[in-house]
């Protein structure tokens, strides 16, 4: 490993480049381990930065170590212990030394020992950031900051909030972790399904925040979708459970339609009208086998079923080839696992495609008796669509107007106005 030291600008540049690459690939893992060793988020973050600046200096002289990750963990830990000792001299808080210094194991061996420990640390970090005793906003912010390594500014921009507000949210979350003593651990087997579900919810929320922000002009904000997929892929490597496969597949299959989903002016293009040659085949090819694996396990949950629905769409080369009967059946299965009026609405739409608009309309109108459905724009839009397909243009126009009353996203409103216009055209004939 030790190459003769050549103090040229080229050498320094290539080392910097190499360290940058290591930061990209290793910094979150090093952080995850440092949090365990030091028992404190802020201390660990500081130690991480100290370790990387030490690496810049020392590696230039001594060359790259055999195991950069272990070197960084070790350096970070010693820097932190130094810091704690200095503080202790002033404050007399010797007890602060407990977790950092009381480990007599050699950190070098400790970090090198096995990849399993590293993987466990990464899981610990994910589970603590998505702990259900933190608010959902805090879980999202903390996960993006600590697990994905985004800056506070980047996260603030993604959630359309100010950096100070976001920083405060993260500070409070860390304070709660410390004060309420939320442990840095992988939940035990009994709690695992519930805690894993919470993690998956956070990842899907991130994805959806990127895929369809709650309000505003743009339909897709790709940064967060990419982070969510990356995070889920990482979780899948660490914990290859059926629902993790299901969620990863669902996001890949939904994201594969990203470019086809909107037209040049940013308007929504419905699934049936999308140019399927624009669908990302690479993502589809990664997603489909995951769906099969998840469903085969028989321990799958709602994400896997939704992924299976997305897979049926992905497998149809042309919209007419879509197996709507299968989709209707999958929605029925989904309604059993996770009953909700929205799922029932989707089931009704699938039935309208499989058996005709009259069958769908009947189900949608039953659903519209429920109060929650009456203010849901997509319920009115689905009813309007069935009426239009049946040729009841006057009634369809009324229903589209009702949908417009409740739709908030501008592209959705443009879409509904265009359909309303079509009804008016038919009526003029």
């Amino acid at each position: 490993m030790d190459t003769p030291v050549t103090h040229t600008a080229d050498h320094a540049r290539s080392l910097q480049h190499e360290i940058g690459r290591i930061y990209e690939s290793e910094s979150r893992r090093v952080l995850a381990t440092l949090i365990r060793l030091l028992g404190d988020f802020d201390l660990a973050e500081e130690a991480l930065h100290e370790a990387f600046s030490a690496a810049l200096k020392q590696w230039a002289i001594e060359g790259m170590p055999d195991n950069p990750r272990a070197w960084l963990v070790s350096a970070g830990r010693f820097k932190a212990i130094d810091q704690i000792r200095k503080n202790a001299r002033f404050n007399d808080h010797i007890s602060d030394l407990r977790s950092a210094a009381s480990t007599d194991e050699d950190t070098h061996n400790l970090a090198q020992r096995d990849d399993l420990t590293i993987a466990d640390d990464q899981l610990r970090l994910i589970f603590i950031c998505c702990h259900p005793s933190l608010s959902v906003e805090a879980q999202l912010a903390l996960t993006l900051r600590e697990v994905c390594g985004l800056t506070t500014e980047q996260i603030a921009r993604a959630f359309l909030t100010s950096a100070p507000t976001l920083a405060q949210r993260i500070v409070r979350a860390k304070a709660k972790i410390r004060d309420a003593k939320i442990p840095y651990e992988i939940p035990e087997q009994k709690q695992l399904p519930e805690r894993l579900a919470a993690v998956l919810d956070v990842i899907y929320l991130l994805f959806n925040e990127g895929y369809s922000p709650a309000a505003g002009e743009h339909v897709v904000q790709t940064d967060l979708t990419r982070e969510a997929i990356h995070l889920c892929r990482q979780l899948h490597e660490l914990l290859p459970q059926p629902e993790v496969k299901g969620l990863l597949a669902l996001m890949l299959l939904q994201d594969s339609r990203r470019t086809a989903r909107t037209d040049a002016s940013g308007d929504i293009v419905l699934l049936q009208d999308q140019d399927r040659s624009l669908w990302d085949q690479e993502q589809i090819n990664e997603g489909l086998p995951l769906v099969t694996q998840a469903l085969k396990s028989r321990r799958f949950g709602p994400f896997s079923v939704q992924a299976a629905i997305a897979a049926v769409h992905a497998e149809a080369e042309r919209p007419e080839q879509t197996d709507w009967n299968q989709i209707a059946g999958l929605y029925e299965a989904l309604a059993r696992i996770q009953p909700s009026p929205v799922v029932s609405l989707n089931q009704a739409v699938a039935i309208s495609m499989a058996q005709g608009p009259a069958a769908g309309l009947q189900r949608i109108e039953t659903l519209l008796h429920q109060k929650t459905m009456q203010e849901y724009h997509l319920a009115h839009a689905a009813r309007a669509d069935c009426l239009k397909r049946l040729g009841h243009y006057q009634a369809a126009a009324e229903a589209f107007k009702q949908a417009l009353n409740f739709a908030k996203q501008e592209p959705e409103r443009r879409f509904l106005r265009a359909r309303l216009q079509e009804c008016h055209c038919h009526l003029k004939k």
Binding site: V171, A175, D179, A180, K181, I182, P183, Q191
Partner: protein, 129 residues
């Protein structure tokens, strides 16, 4: 670490319970206390009489004022407490999940802070750092 598990439920709803149902819930609570004692997690605990028995006391300008009722009108009312010893919040949450009234109302789990001569913490909720 010590955690206080505060038991809240809707008193009106609970008062609709039949006597045998109510008795059986109380027996369940006694069994719960016994289990917590055996596992070494129990420090103290008590059920409370309903909020119509509550009096709220304040001191302003050295004058004591007393008022009828609990300090705030809420949908669910404080009905009792358990003081627990737990390894961390995860264990405290697990223990709280075994408190029988959790099925009817809610259990708020709060870490207990130490009272010291000086350097007390936990006062500033706006800037916990």
């Amino acid at each position: 670490m010590n955690y206080l598990a505060l038991v809240y439920y809707d008193e009106n709803k609970m008062s609709e319970m039949s006597q045998p149902e109510w008795d059986s819930l109380n027996r369940e609570c006694m069994a719960c206390v016994e289990n917590l004692q055996q596992s070494g997690h129990y420090i103290a605990g008590n059920p409370l009489l309903p909020t119509h028995t509550a009096t709220t006391v304040r001191v302003r300008d050295d004058k004591v004022s007393t008022m009828d009722g609990p300090f705030a009108e809420t949908k669910e009312q404080l009905a009792g407490y358990y003081l627990l010893e737990a390894r961390d919040l995860n264990e405290a949450i697990q223990l709280a999940g075994k408190i029988p009234p959790a099925r009817y109302g809610s259990i708020e789990v709060r870490p207990v802070r130490a009272l010291r001569e000086s350097d007390n913490d936990g006062r500033n909720s706006k800037n916990p750092a």
